[in-house]
Symmetry: C2
Subunit: 252 residues, 2 copies
């Protein structure tokens, strides 16, 4: 049984456009899946508006509570991009022009194009290390346990892929999925019994509707492959006992 203390993370999705319903977040699930692979557990995500006081207070709250904090959004050149200055305020350090970030931007713009607004993107909190942006140059940064990334999914992914090796995780979280066409209420009690026998695993029950049929995916998560296989076997046996046909799925 795994008694290792899990390494935890919180994601801050910063942007009015998510809270207004205009834009659908596409970063949470990508980040979550990579974190599973490196053994870091995403324990919470918050969507917060482009309001300085909210960003500063939230960054300070969650960086104390979780091992890692990732932020997406608000690091562009316009007036509503206030994440960098808010993170600087949260850490109590000045926002400074980073020479390497400035050089990166200079290399990408024609003479005269690197105006004051664009130069804002070369400012980071004092003491921060740059997070590379292979897509559009303007970097993110890391300060303490907080990684600040772009909101545009293509850029965020490229940034995140570049920093994943810096994360010190525990054992990777693996999963097993067994689906069936029984109703949840039919197996709920028995599934609870399986969960009771495997307190080291997390067993979830997720109804779905596809190809014209209702069904339920039973998802088992944990860090011990042998325990997962054993528990997945118990779940399959339970389904058969209740008159269903277990379907092992590779997708998690």
């Amino acid at each position: 049984m795994d008694t290792e203390k899990p390494v935890t993370a919180c994601l801050l999705i910063i942007g009015n456009e998510i809270l207004s319903g205009r834009t659908q977040d596409a970063n949470l699930s990508y980040i979550a899946k990579v974190l599973n692979e490196v053994g870091v557990r995403l324990m919470e995500a918050r969507v917060i508006p482009d309001v300085a006081e909210t960003i500063v207070a939230t960054v300070n709250e969650v960086r104390a509570e979780f091992d890692y904090v990732f932020t997406t959004g608000g690091i562009g050149p316009t007036h509503d991009d206030i994440t960098s200055e808010c993170v600087a305020r949260a850490f109590g350090v000045p926002l400074i022009l980073h020479p390497e970030a400035k050089a990166l931007l200079e290399a990408g713009y024609k003479p005269g194009e690197l105006n004051e607004a664009r130069l804002r993107m070369a400012h980071v909190p004092e003491g921060a290390a740059l997070v590379k942006n292979p897509v559009s140059r303007a970097p993110g940064f890391r300060i303490g346990n907080v990684f600040v990334m772009a909101g545009v999914p293509q850029i965020m992914r490229a940034m995140f892929d570049g920093i994943r090796h810096e994360l010190k995780g525990g054992r990777p979280v693996q999963s097993r999925t067994v689906a069936c066409h029984l109703a949840e209420g039919t197996f709920a009690k028995d599934l609870g019994d399986v969960q009771g026998r495997y307190p080291d695993l997390e067993i979830g029950s997720y109804p779905f509707y596809r190809q014209g049929q209702f069904g339920v995916s039973l998802v088992l998560r944990g860090t011990d492959a042998a325990r997962l296989d054993e528990a997945a076997g118990d779940v399959a046996a339970m389904i058969r006992r209740l008159g269903g046909s277990p379907i092992e799925e590779t997708a998690t």
Copy 2:
């Protein structure tokens, strides 16, 4: 200028399946758009795991901070569905079998099918009012300023459509969108000046890539249609002045 105090809301998305990256949330944007229509501002959303202490603490934190709280997920019949009991704990009241909820379930199952697990779905915190579920019977509920709904999008939407008339909002939030193919860095300073002249509006700048072209949507939000039209005109004029072609969009 609108000096009315905004009516605020927080959404709690409860479920390990969102935090693991397995399931993409589809409820936030629906709820946000309806809230805009009824004049309620979604100020924050949190995704939290199926962990009782986290749910109880978070419900208590946000119900004190916002006018309305909506929760999605965790009200089914399986062991990982713990939202109802956690909300009861948060309010310091017992979880009781609601006679009307029981009758609703009884009407939908064949004799013998309404087992103990399914009866869990007829339990609500004492003092709660039911939220109807026209899709699959098992109701949500409202207690105080907290509305508890299903996580399955079809069911959540049906529940939310049934309660929206109960929400006492302020003036509905409207928006105007003007797109262009200028780079953000080109207009950032001027757009900041426009924002400075309209402190009662919220102006956001959102890059996009579609039909093979990069562009930016400038979105103006506020409660005063005349001010929005005036500011959108200023934004369009700014785009023309900088050599671009403003594109008015109806989608927000």
